[in-house]
Symmetry: C2
Subunit: 354 residues, 2 copies
């Protein structure tokens, strides 16, 4: 059985005894504030293409020296990336992507009619010397820290060097920081200067993936204007109620988000130690909710676990790494433990035969 | 004062004594069913990229010989058009657009990195002989009947000839039928064959513009697959609650939609007769909610009416016609009457000086 991409698993694994380490979405519910507004909601007309003023005002308070004009509210981080790339389009331009990558990135670049080139992560980390050499002819670099699928964050000094390098070379940075609140080792580092376009989302922090509310933040007003002009024709305002719910989410106290991060960290420790105990080779995740162990013949692992052990895991190949398998640990401890048990059985019974 | 495009008016004209014949959105509220589900709604996770099964099943019943696999639910008709064009992308391809056009169409074509060419409407109608000649080297033709901004529908025999011509030539038709339920003279004619991609929306019929729920319907499964593959990377599922509300809208009895059309028809008659009585040259709208009279120096008319008469109207130039002005009559009779009164004053006092 050859499972070709993650969409095979959509709608699978939520019941029937499956344990899903597949899809990257929180199992925790959104904060109550977010849906408390539903019963009385009565606004159905077009909103501002740029996004509702209250939401952008709230976001501006979260970013140093920002104002509401620096934001566009989008249909999730996906649309923010799509529009950012299209806004910066130049014929034949090269876009510098991490490898392994979030599985949409290369597609986003192709769909914007440009060309991806890659910087290889070494155990999830950027090698700045190689990076510096290979970035030279690129128009845009995409940075994703904390990273999906690697679960790593990039070192502060490397991020600062990249900021400077990109500015010196006149290269745009698209910084996908959707896991900025799911980081265990330090505070998130906001990449920022005139060349940076920050992509973020309410999906992961506030567990509202299906509502598709994300945003683009940029200092350069000309980029924001261009993105609004495009969105006016490609999708118009982001769902008006989704934006109102996102606005409620901005009022959730920081302490509640930190309490959530604590839960993620416990799960991280559980699965990391569990996989290590099973003898797998992996690094300790520093952010997001993915572990990315080395495994022989990942496509067989994915298929075997699905067909014989009722377990969903994702093939590293989908993320540009043919020697690893991605486990999302957006699951409660009980399910993680059961998954590790099944995996142990698989490893002892069949895996060596790969 | 030079007002450059419709976005100038966003958020203006709903109060402060303004009469807005600007934005094309219903003033009527959505059916109660649509928001009755809000209080108990509790589903926040990713949905199917293609769209929720219940909604696609309900839509399949509205189209002859359709099944749920023929639909993709999108962020309004705008995203359906954007994705359809990008799915059919070929370098250098020409896209055949009506002129006057809905103001996004040329932008949509450019944003898909293709080239617009135009067929001129004569008093809002297609001249099939010219159309037939000029379509030859195009990859896609866009048909919009009922039309924004002209308010016209195309004759049945012309639509049938276009269907056949496009099939013979292997040209795709994107048929934007968002006003299919706002048509006064006959039933809507669904363009259909293997080459047709139908675009539609819940915005106009069910007065839920801000929720951005539209869809693409196509017989050709390969196109649907391609659009889903793209949407997976460019926006993922359409807002999950918006889809549930759209599903509720599909249950609204036809008689209620017809009652609504009756109201639109009364307004159409009021404004059409009113503008005729003021001596303006225009045709009688057959669908949608726009009248498109000839006026001298439209950009001055737009600016004068806005600055001196607290009235919003749209410049025909924004729709590719430099000799007309668009009035949306999505307003109650009282406001239409007041608007006509102000226009009468303008016409008698200042207009002749143009």
């Amino acid at each position: 059985m050859n499972i070709e991409n993650p969409s095979f698993f959509i709608g699978k694994g939520d019941n029937d005894g499956f344990i899903s380490f597949g899809s990257g979405q929180p199992d925790l519910p959104p904060p109550k504030e977010v849906y408390d507004i539903l019963p009385d909601y009565r606004s159905f007309k077009y909103g501002l293409i740029q996004g509702q003023a209250n939401l952008r005002e709230a976001l501006a308070k979260q970013y140093p020296n920002a104002n509401p004009d620096n934001f566009v509210i989008t249909n999730g981080a996906s649309e923010a990336i799509d529009l950012a790339l299209r806004a910066l389009y130049q014929p034949g331009a090269k876009i510098f992507l991490p490898k392994p990558y979030y599985y949409s990135y290369p597609h986003n670049v192709y769909l914007a009619r440009m060309e991806p080139v890659y910087y290889e992560l070494e155990n999830g980390k950027i090698n700045f010397e190689t990076f510096k050499k290979d970035i030279q002819n690129c128009r845009i670099v995409l940075i994703n820290s904390p990273s999906n699928p690697t679960g790593t964050i990039q070192d502060l000094d490397v991020l600062k060097k990249i900021e400077k390098l990109a500015q010196d070379l006149g290269i745009y940075i698209i910084s996908d920081e959707v896991y900025k609140d799911l980081i265990y080792e330090r505070e998130n580092y906001l990449l920022e200067n005139g060349n940076v376009l920050t992509v973020n989302s309410f999906s992961k922090t506030f567990a509202m993936c299906g509502f598709r509310v994300g945003y683009l933040y940029a200092r350069e007003k000309a980029i924001i204007k261009k993105v609004i002009d495009m969105k006016n024709h490609t999708s118009m305002n982001t769902n008006i109620l989704g934006q109102e719910m996102a606005y409620e989410a901005t009022k959730v106290p920081r302490s509640r988000i930190e309490a959530q991060t604590k839960i993620w960290k416990e799960r991280r420790d559980l699965i990391y130690n569990g996989l290590r105990d099973l003898g797998l080779d992996l690094w300790k995740p520093e952010g997001a909710f993915y572990v990315f162990p080395k495994m022989k013949n990942p496509s067989k692992v994915v298929s075997d676990l699905y067909c014989k052990y009722k377990m969903i895991v994702y093939n590293g190949v989908w993320f540009g790494d043919s020697e690893r398998v991605r486990f999302s640990y957006a699951l409660d401890a009980e399910k993680i433990t059961e998954g590790l048990k099944r995996l142990k059985e698989y490893l002892s019974k069949e895996y060596k035969e790969n």
